[in-house]
């Protein structure tokens, strides 16, 4: 790891409350890193969805399992890792929530939202054997955040129609 990289990590219980905790922690890091309001919203939402995925699908809401959250702040981006202790999954097995037959599905949009809101997104096999979501967002250029906090991409989420 580069010497100018800041690293934070925390182990979370498999609880609903962990979703808010993870979101709040990452939002503080994102704000301190200079991300604007819109990017903070996208980062916070992505962390929520990553931890919800670990809580519900990975750890199957089992309290004996943990959720491992890590944040790396490098010179040019914020990288977030969410690792569960489940059986893992392949991105190719995740149904497309935009497909006509899935539009009225009550679940399955978390991965889609993380992909839409972050610059980079992937899922790898983690050290626990579970799924490890790795996602990142490029840091705003110094002084680029507007008063309402927008930086980088447009405020409107990327459309993938």
């Amino acid at each position: 790891m580069a010497s100018d990289t800041k690293h934070l990590e925390m182990t979370l219980e498999t609880l609903v409350e962990s979703v808010n905790l993870a979101e709040e922690m990452c939002l503080r890091v994102a704000e301190a890193a200079g991300f604007g309001e819109d990017d903070c919203y996208r980062i916070g939402m992505s962390v929520r969805e990553g931890v919800i995925n670990a809580f519900h699908y990975g750890n199957e809401e089992r309290p004996d399992k943990k959720i491992h959250l890590a944040v790396d702040l490098t010179a040019d981006k914020m990288i977030i890792h969410v690792l569960d202790e489940g059986a893992g999954f392949k991105l190719s097995d995740v149904p497309d929530p935009l497909a006509e037959e899935n539009l009225l599905s009550t679940s399955g949009r978390g991965i889609f939202l993380m992909r839409a809101f972050m610059d980079e997104f992937t899922v790898v096999s983690g050290r626990t054997g579970g799924a490890e979501i790795v996602m990142s967002k490029k840091l705003p250029a110094p002084g680029s955040a507007s008063p309402n906090g927008q930086s980088g991409k447009s405020a409107t989420p990327r459309q993938e129609a």
């Binding site: 919800i52 935009l98 009550t106 679940s107 949009r109 989420p157 129609a161």
Partner: protein, 114 residues
């Protein structure tokens, strides 16, 4: 900020005024309980006023869809009113904007149920 819900009758239509976040946990559960309660009372024409809802996650989206399906299955209708920008954007990228009837004016929304 947790979710709060109150409802009022406007003729055959029930307007549900929501405020807060519709997210995994209590927020999604309250939305579900509110819609199921209205259906139990035979109030099947429902207008969700989301003017004060500034945040919905995937669980909240799932609960909106679940409510919509439950109401439709009882030959009712569920429509949305006053979306905030974040919520509108979220419904657009998930293509649910094409599923729900969305209104910016309450009286127009109420007339649409007739």
């Amino acid at each position: 900020m947790s979710l709060h819900a109150t409802h009022r009758d406007a003729g055959q239509v029930t307007v549900v005024d929501l405020s807060g976040r519709i997210v995994l946990g209590d927020g999604s559960a309250l939305l579900r309980k509110t819609i199921r309660g209205l259906l139990d009372d035979q109030r099947k024409l429902i207008l969700l006023n989301l003017a004060d809802v500034d945040y919905i996650d995937s669980s909240g989206i799932g609960e909106l869809v679940s409510g919509y399906t439950a109401v439709k299955n009882q030959s009712g209708d569920l429509k949305l009113l006053h979306l905030t920008k974040k919520v509108r954007d979220l419904l657009q990228i998930t293509k649910l904007y094409t599923v729900f009837d969305v209104f910016t004016d309450e009286s127009t929304a109420l007339r649409s149920f007739v």
